[in-house]
């Protein structure tokens, strides 16, 4: 198998009438997705677009998913853009891409025009029913290689300029095969998608749906505000599999939803991107004793996720849920600062080796060269690994444990401190909802932000009992809600900026 579209070509003729993708206002069967994808591919090709980025700027919907596959049929690669993304960021992305064509829908057309975009704007509704040109599509396929790009997704760069990660067929096929194996997807799987379509996170649902002839519901975003309604939706659609960010799961458990209603069909729960507070995690396990829980870890630059740990034991306060080990056909090298391998228990940077490593950052050789580097353990031939900037260690069971971003490791009064370790202790306290530590490198102060029902004074007292003196925060600040990045991770950069500017 060399092309991601083969999943659809094998499945659609087998189950043409089965529901493939459903959203709030529309749904598509496999037969429809298949026919329209080829139509969209034909339309793009007939207009001369080939081997170039095609921006998909649409409202999150089954149609948007359909547009992705259509772009791949044309031999181009899709670049999904968030409908709600600020114009400034879209401008930066267009600057990096220099695209000739954008696919829009009624929600986004005016916004695309307002950007001053000079290329062609195609309306999804106008191209979706294009008659397939089998000869043109066959010619494109014959020339396609498995190392050709499928998509570019943009991640936030530390400098504020987004970086476009380019992934090819081979990496995505490798990911879908090994992820499906690890989580046990099948034709019976009913996904409830939470993550946005403009990140690689949604690969977990979109491509296994095609591979197995499964079904994906794109859950209306609004439901993530209303825990009981959300669980009722899961039950109504008989959703049995979710791959969500931790904060979406804790939103359900933290408000006592399980006392009212439980997800009746849910059997596979995968989570990632953030540390799961153990108290909330155990509420989930009690509510769903039959379900499997899997912690996922991975950077966009290594195609979705690259490590997983299927929970196989009890976790109590103070325990860390490991990120486990790599998927089949991926290796994790834990490299120390001197580029040698970390021994068990030693901290090292997570470096990814294998087919899952993406092609690099689009139109950005400098940033690509910084993190897509020659494997320092291999002097014999070219071999690129991806340096994640994340720190981990192997526990005494041989499992990888995530520690923190490399940037959160600070040196203070001669001690090496992981800010993530301070947060882990804070999160153990009753009533803490979330916490985030930043380091003021000018005044050399550790600053702790937290949300929850704990008095500042009480918390400081408890921390004194749980942390070595040198790790105690110098300032503790209670806030009403944590700022989040578009990825759903706590926005450390923003908190630090606020602090450095003298605010709280």
């Amino acid at each position: 198998m060399n092309n991601i579209l083969e999943y659809m070509e094998q499945t659609a003729p087998r189950v043409p009438d089965k529901l493939a993708f459903a959203g709030e206002n529309s749904e598509l069967s496999f037969g429809q997705v298949f026919a329209r994808s080829k139509g969209i591919g034909t339309a793009l090709s007939a207009r001369g677009y080939y081997r170039e980025p095609v921006v998909v700027y649409m409202h999150k919907s089954p149609d948007m998913v359909n547009a992705f596959f259509g772009v791949v049929y044309s031999g181009c690669f899709y670049v999904p853009i968030d409908e709600e993304m600020p114009a400034h960021r879209i401008g930066l992305i267009f600057g990096a891409l220099d695209p000739r064509v954008v696919i829009c829908d009624g929600n986004t057309r005016d916004k695309a025009e307002a950007l001053g975009f000079g290329g062609e704007i195609l309306m999804f509704d106008d191209i979706r029913d294009t008659a397939e040109d089998p000869a043109a599509l066959a010619k494109i396929r014959k020339a396609a290689l498995d190392v050709d790009p499928i998509y570019i997704v943009f991640t936030s760069g530390s400098t504020g300029v987004p970086k476009g990660v380019v992934a090819c067929h081979r990496s995505v096929i490798d990911y879908i095969e090994t992820l499906s194996e690890a989580l046990g997807f099948s034709s019976e799987t009913v996904f409830g998608n939470q993550t946005p379509l403009y990140f690689d996170a949604c690969l977990k649902e979109l491509y296994p749906t095609l591979k197995f002839g499964a079904t994906t519901y794109l859950i209306p975003k609004k439901l993530f505000m209303f825990p009981v309604k959300l669980v009722e939706y899961l039950n109504e659609k008989r959703i049995n599999t979710v791959c969500w960010v931790v904060s979406a799961l804790t939103m359900i458990s933290a408000f006592g939803t399980f006392d009212t209603v439980k997800p009746e069909y849910l059997r596979t729960v995968a989570f990632g991107s953030e540390v799961f507070p153990i108290k909330q995690f155990n509420l989930w396990r009690q509510a769903l004793p039959e379900a499997t829980f899997t912690n996922l870890y991975g950077p966009t630059e290594a195609t979705g996720m690259c490590c997983f740990y299927r929970v196989d034991r009890e976790f109590g306060p103070g325990d860390v849920i490991p990120i486990g080990g790599p998927f089949r056909n991926t290796e994790i090298l834990l490299l120390k600062d001197d580029n040698t391998l970390a021994a068990p228990g030693e901290t090292g940077e997570i470096c990814v080796r294998g087919t899952s490593v993406t092609l690099g950052y689009y139109n950005n050789p400098e940033k690509t060269a910084e993190s897509f580097v020659q494997n320092p353990l291999n002097k014999a031939y070219p071999e690129i690994i991806y340096r994640t900037g994340d720190l981990a260690r192997r526990n005494d069971r041989g499992e990888l444990e995530f520690i923190s971003r490399k940037d959160y490791q600070i040196k203070h009064m001669g001690h090496r401190i992981e800010l993530g370790e301070i947060e882990a202790v804070v999160n153990l306290e009753d009533g803490i909802r979330s916490s985030c530590c930043i380091f003021d490198d000018v005044k050399k102060k550790i600053v702790l932000y937290y949300t929850g029902d704990v008095e500042k004074g009480d918390l400081s007292g408890k921390l004194r009992a749980g942390l070595p003196r040198y790790m105690l925060p110098h300032a503790v600040i209670q806030i009403d809600s944590m700022p989040f990045t578009p990825n759903g991770k706590i926005d450390r950069k923003l908190l630090k900026e606020r602090w450095m500017q003298g605010g709280q």
């Binding site: 609004k222 993530f224 505000m225 209303f226 825990p227 009981v228 309604k229 939103m251 408000f255 006592g256 939803t257 006392d259 009212t260 909802r433 949300t451 029902d453 009403d480 809600s481 944590m482 989040f484």
Partner: protein
């Protein structure tokens, strides 16, 4: 009610809470706003909003939210 309006103003100062009845339907409040509102209410009014009351009808307007607080205070 003034205390509630203060909480809401803190979150979006530019919304007219006296007249707006579509805080949820029009996407004015997002999920992080809801979580902060629930947190603030529980500390200011000493009531816990149970999960089955976290529904759009109770958050669409300041008046609906105030009615919910009064109901919970009576219980």
């Amino acid at each position: 009610m003034d205390k509630l309006l203060e909480i809401l103003k803190e979150i979006h100062a530019d919304v007219d809470y006296d007249t707006c009845e579509t805080l949820i339907d029009d996407g004015i409040l997002d999920s992080f706003d809801i979580i902060s509102i629930i947190t603030e209410i529980s500390s200011e009014f000493d009531v816990q909003i149970p999960a089955n009351e976290i529904v759009p009808e109770n958050f669409n307007s300041a008046a609906a939210l105030w009615k919910l607080i009064e109901k919970l205070e009576d219980e």
